[in-house]
């Protein structure tokens, strides 16, 4: 998210908390009362991978359930404890008229809303529709387009409601997810990096692919969180965690152009799971013919 947008959001936050992402403030935490904090997990348009990350905490899952009441998590349980909820994890993007309504119900029943994953924080892979005419998409996939209800654009949760924290990743890193949950329970700010994948690469002592073996790499403009996974596997970063703070995307593109990448290739490079994140969207649009 660009700084301009952040400023706008801050203004909104100070004013009428309508939509956007907050700066985390110090609070007493959710453990102050003697009851367990109530957690809800909501799904919008997504692949289920980010909520699966919670179930992928095999060593921690039973301990989590001892400390938190998993009150509403349909993928895991048919039991639903009514809201309000202390923390709502929201997976997925808003892409249907029904979901655009439903997300407000989630906000109304939740003390804290945490958007998890690329879909919830940028619109996800399905935001590729934002660059095309969605009507043509429907007719190319479904023989009877009339049955399908969808919005023209796939958008992040913060475009619709006030979001307390955004956790990036396609998928999210499960340890980061645990950090976010435990931070909010104890009333502190999640301790997660906002620097680029490059820093992770340097900390791991990995040879820079950008200069050494040259696959296109989005590392310099992508937020850390994966522990430089792709470079570790000898491939360039393809931007799962979305743009870092103040990314210089055009400078990176210039570099790739100079070593022979075509504009069509550059456009596709920025159009993946975070194609609708402002910095990546603008950069890809610069190469649209």
């Amino acid at each position: 998210m660009g700084s301009m947008k952040l400023k706008k959001i801050k203004d909104k936050v100070v004013g009428k908390k309508k939509s956007g992402v907050s700066k985390v403030k110090k609070s007493k935490g959710l453990k102050s009362s003697n009851r367990k904090p109530k957690l809800a997990v909501w799904k919008f348009s997504s692949c289920d991978g980010c909520q699966l990350s919670l179930l992928d905490c095999e060593d921690e899952l039973l301990a989590i359930a001892e400390n938190i009441q998993i009150a509403n998590f349909p993928e895991t349980s048919r039991a639903v404890v009514k809201g309000p909820y202390d923390i709502s994890l929201v997976e997925g993007s808003i892409s249907t008229p029904h979901d655009a309504e439903r997300i407000h119900q989630v906000r109304r029943q939740s003390k804290l809303v945490v958007a998890i994953g690329a879909c919830a924080t940028s619109g996800g892979i399905q935001a590729l529709r934002n660059f095309k005419d969605v009507k043509q998409f429907i007719t190319s996939v479904y023989p009877n387009p009339d049955y399908i209800e969808t919005l023209n654009k796939s958008t992040p949760i913060a475009d619709h409601i006030f979001v307390d924290y955004e956790l990036r990743g396609c998928p999210v890193n499960k340890y980061q997810l645990l950090e976010v949950i435990s931070a909010f329970i104890s009333g502190r700010k999640p301790n997660l990096p906002s620097y680029s994948v490059c820093i992770e690469c340097k900390m791991k002592g990995i040879t820079c692919g950008l200069v050494a073996f040259g696959p296109p790499c989005l590392g310099p403009v992508t937020q850390a969180g994966c522990d430089a996974l792709c470079p570790t596997y000898h491939r360039g970063c393809f931007g799962c965690y979305g743009p870092k703070e103040t990314p210089n995307t055009s400078s990176l593109s210039e570099y790739w152009k100079n070593v022979g990448m075509s504009e069509a290739e550059l456009m596709r490079l920025f159009r993946n799971f975070n194609s609708n994140a402002e910095a990546f969207r603008k950069e890809s649009e610069a190469y649209e013919k």
């Binding site: 289920d48 909520q51 992928d56 899952l61 993928e75 349980s77 095309k132 969605v134 190319s140 969808t150």
Partner: protein, 430 residues
């Protein structure tokens, strides 16, 4: 209790969103809709114009539970379109990571999603209070499946190491050897799992399905094979669309698949087990027989036993692959795109997953078709429910609703994939 409306707005313990609505008037079902209301995401549309090298990473995002299936079906199709043959060690590594995905996905379903139904718990966390060691065993099995995916693929969800022509980086022999001891434990744990789930009480319910699965000489088909059925289908993957077609229904964003001229069919663990029983390892076959289940199983509720047997099989298979693994010289073969069409089909944990792509000379996608297992099973799920409920209309609404949910969970439906999933909506007008 002549008229009933049974309604499950959001079906729990499935991956994705769906519901069921059933309307009963004067003791007869007048309407039964298994709804998938997962938002449509239009993968087939936005794959157009993408480079072949990007396709496996994009299609992985269709499903966070079975990304390897999507990567493998797309890679099969692409390699076939370009006439690429990969080396035997690469094929085995692909089978290994697929074994990891089956183990992870089946363990999730057997222990966390399906077993609570049979034991009367709302979820596995409640079940853990009484059956702590069982749930912990399930979580550990799931973790070992994830470990295979992490070591071979880089990470569990949306692996990054799989590419057209091979892998980005080959796992070291020493890294794979770390899996040997956990997998030996897993073989024993899976045998205990088969014995545990086979003692559940199963509703008396059988149907005569057309079972559809991949089949392969000499091995239990996972990552490649011909498409076969118990009613005479025996075709190459390229002939899929000549034999099956998809129809759209108003109550679902998933398309329903049928066998041309015959109707619904069943794909997934029970189909594979029935068609490929003799390809299982000797231990898996013996443990299956001991559990009272053999080729010719027609009770969909027993799919939980079949999944446990498949877990046993993939642990043995993973051990075999690891013990014979020698690092190949090259991680990837040269890939030269060309104009053409490619077809790919693999056995996702939930059943056959079909992909077809057409490419231009630069290797850009001209069009794509993806048929996920849950949309293929959707008609079968509705037919199961119709027959299952007809004999049970005297049950209380609460009990019937739960049993319907359980019947749907037999399929481990992955709704995220099939939207192109479920809202139980049993309308009993009283």
């Amino acid at each position: 209790m002549k008229n009933k409306i049974i309604k499950v707005d959001c079906l729990a313990r499935v991956e994705g969103e769906g519901g069921l609505s059933i309307k009963v008037v004067e003791g007869k079902i007048v309407e039964l809709n298994f709804n998938i209301f997962e938002p449509p995401r239009f993968f087939e549309a936005f794959l157009r114009g993408r480079h072949f090298s990007e396709v496996p990473d994009i299609t992985a995002r269709i499903c966070g539970i079975c990304p390897v299936a999507y990567q493998m079906s797309s890679i099969n199709a692409i390699e076939r379109a370009f006439g690429i043959e990969v080396s035997e060690p690469i094929k085995l590594l692909r089978r290994l990571i697929y074994c990891g995905e089956w183990l992870e996905s089946h363990a999730l379903h057997v222990f966390l999603l399906h077993a609570p139904d049979f034991l009367g718990y709302e979820d596995a966390l409640q079940m853990a209070k009484d059956h702590s060691s069982i749930v912990q065993m399930g979580l550990r099995l799931k973790k070992i499946g994830n470990e295979i995916m992490r070591i071979v693929g880089g990470r569990e969800i949306h692996p990054i190491n799989i590419r057209v022509g091979g892998f980005y980086k080959l796992p070291l022999k020493s890294e794979l050897k770390e899996l040997v001891e956990p997998l030996k434990w897993s073989v024993d744990a899976c045998i205990r799992t088969v014995r545990f789930v086979s003692r559940f009480s199963f509703p008396e319910f059988e149907r005569h399905y057309e079972f559809v699965a991949l089949q392969n000489e000499g091995k239990y088909a996972i990552e490649e094979g011909r498409i076969v059925s118990n009613k005479g289908i025996d075709i190459d993957v390229s002939e899929y669309e000549d034999n099956f077609y998809e129809e759209q229904v108003s109550h679902s964003t998933a398309l329903h698949s049928v066998v041309k001229g015959r109707g619904g069919y069943l794909t997934g663990p029970v189909a594979r087990f029935n068609l490929n029983f003799d390809k299982l390892t000797q231990t898996s076959q013996e443990i299956a027989k001991e559990a009272g289940i053999e080729k010719g199983t027609n009770n969909p509720f027993k799919s939980i036993i079949v999944r446990a047997i498949e877990m046993l099989y993939v642990c043995e298979e993973a051990l075999r692959i690891i013990e014979n693994y020698e690092e190949p010289d090259k991680s990837v073969v040269n890939v030269q795109p060309r104009v053409g069409i490619g077809y790919g089909c693999t056995e996702a944990p939930r059943g056959i997953l079909y992909h077809r792509y057409r490419f231009d000379n630069e290797g850009l996608v001209l069009d794509a078709k993806i048929v996920p297992p849950t949309s293929q099973n959707q008609k079968s799920i509705e037919e199961d429910l119709y027959e299952f409920i007809s004999g049970r209309l005297n049950l209380s609404k609460e009990k019937l609703t739960w049993q319907c949910e359980q019947a749907i969970r037999n399929y481990d439906p992955c709704i995220s994939c099939s939207t192109h999933f479920l809202r139980l909506n049993i309308v009993k007008e009283e």
